[in-house]
């Protein structure tokens, strides 16, 4: 009986020594330092993300296999954890696949040539490359679907963004020149495609706004005080 119990106990105990545990801790620290160095190294985004994910995965496996003893433990534990982990990975891929469509459209709008955006400024024909955020024509005089931009805003946007564009808590953010600090393309994309995680719908889909309409709105909210 004593012998059996000792044997069972021996099976439970991983063979790792204190010295080895300390070495593993040291290796994990070194890997973290490498990750940190990589994040400051100025590598292009693609290889950087791949390298960071790789080192993160290595640390993950080391902790699970050696600190949590999964390498030496009963296969049932391994299967149980693998089941949850694989399910979580599938969930992550599925969610990103479902909701990352908006990012693709952001890239698309970001890629619209400068001229195409400028051409959308109401009746303005100047077309010269303006600095970021500088309106080409009078931003208050733009037209959206044949009606003045301010009127369109009052009829369609105030329910969520407030009559004076001050925002409505829990619904729409303030749309004042002082707070809109992103490039025009960002707001263009938000109006055209909506914004994941908010009540903002796609106005291209719901109202059929054209790029020119949207651009008039962007210039209006970015440059005209209420």
């Amino acid at each position: 009986m004593e012998h059996e119990a000792a044997a069972a106990q021996h099976n439970e105990h991983p063979p790792t020594t204190i010295r080895q545990y300390v070495m593993i801790g040291l290796i994990l620290t070194v890997l973290t330092v490498i990750e940190l160095w990589l994040s400051y190294s100025g590598l292009p985004h693609g290889p950087l993300i791949a390298a960071l994910l790789f080192f993160s995965a290595v640390k993950f496996v080391i902790v699970v296999a050696l600190f949590m003893h999964l390498r030496f433990d009963h296969p049932l534990f391994r299967r149980m954890f693998a089941f949850g982990f694989v399910l979580a990975a599938i969930l992550l891929v599925a969610l990103l696949g479902l909701f990352w469509g908006d990012h693709a459209s952001t890239d698309l709008v970001g890629g619209i040539p400068e001229g195409a955006v400028v051409a959308g400024h109401g009746d303005s024909e100047e077309g010269e490359a303006e600095g970021e955020g500088e309106p080409a024509g009078d931003p208050a005089a733009g037209m959206v679907q044949g009606i003045p931009v301010a009127e369109f805003f009052q009829a369609n946007c105030v329910a969520c963004h407030g009559p004076n564009r001050e925002g409505v808590t829990g619904l729409g953010l303030p749309l004042l020149p002082s707070v809109l600090d992103q490039p025009d393309e960002f707001y263009h994309d938000t109006i055209a495609n909506g914004r994941t995680g908010t009540a903002m719908p796609s106005w291209t889909a719901t109202k059929g706004l054209t790029d020119a309409d949207i651009d008039a709105l962007v210039q209006f909210i970015k440059h005209v005080e209420p």
Partner: protein
């Protein structure tokens, strides 16, 4: 000894049910954090108003707290080693170190949250605020639970009969929970702090 042996063989799976329960729980936790991490990634770059990650995240500070949590995993595994090899003094000392390092990590997190709120980032400011606070907040909550869990073991080990004949099982199971909290942070640290914004 005989009783411990008996307990071990009374399950149809051949493993202790309490330890199996912890692994099943951790498997479900993978889904819990997987969902929160997915949400963070989906909302990444979607914030309409500042502050954005690059405005507020302090990578050197978080690297220090990451090191603290990593070291707590080392002290935890040494506590398990002590429990399994009958070195009770080592087990208690390492449990205490783990609790203190866990508290240190929480201290860093409280400081970080207060700093972010001061910078104007709240749970409802933008998508970054919402997904960041929920993800790291739930992780911090898990660390807090872990600190209480380990403290209860530490107090238990101070009693006359210590943690009883299942001592190594109790400490081993608590260790699994603690290491899991550490591996979640390994992923969070990479995704939130190190990846380009």
């Amino acid at each position: 000894m005989a009783a411990a042996h008996e307990v071990q063989h009374h399950t149809s799976t051949g493993v202790d049910n309490r330890k199996l329960l912890m692994w099943v729980f951790l498997a479900s936790e993978c889904l819990f954090f997987g969902t929160l991490i997915s949400t963070y990634l989906i909302f990444k770059g979607e914030s309409l108003v500042p502050p954005r990650p690059e405005d507020v995240l302090d990578i050197p500070l978080t690297s220090a707290s990451t090191f603290v949590l990593l070291m707590s995993s080392l002290t935890m595994v040494l506590a398990v080693y002590g429990a399994q090899h009958g070195r009770i003094g080592m087990m208690k000392g390492m449990l205490l170190c783990t609790v203190l390092l866990g508290l240190g990590f929480l201290g860093f997190q409280v400081y970080e949250f207060m700093h972010f709120v001061h910078e104007g980032l709240s749970l409802s400011t933008n998508q970054f605020g919402a997904s960041f606070y929920v993800l790291t907040g739930f992780h911090g909550f898990h660390v807090g639970i872990g600190v209480l869990y380990l403290t209860s073991l530490l107090i238990g080990s101070m009693r006359r009969h210590g943690l009883g004949r299942d001592r190594d099982l109790w400490v081993d199971t608590a260790g699994l929970y603690w290491h899991f909290v550490d591996i979640v942070w390994i992923v969070i640290f990479t995704i939130i702090y190190l990846m380009p914004h």
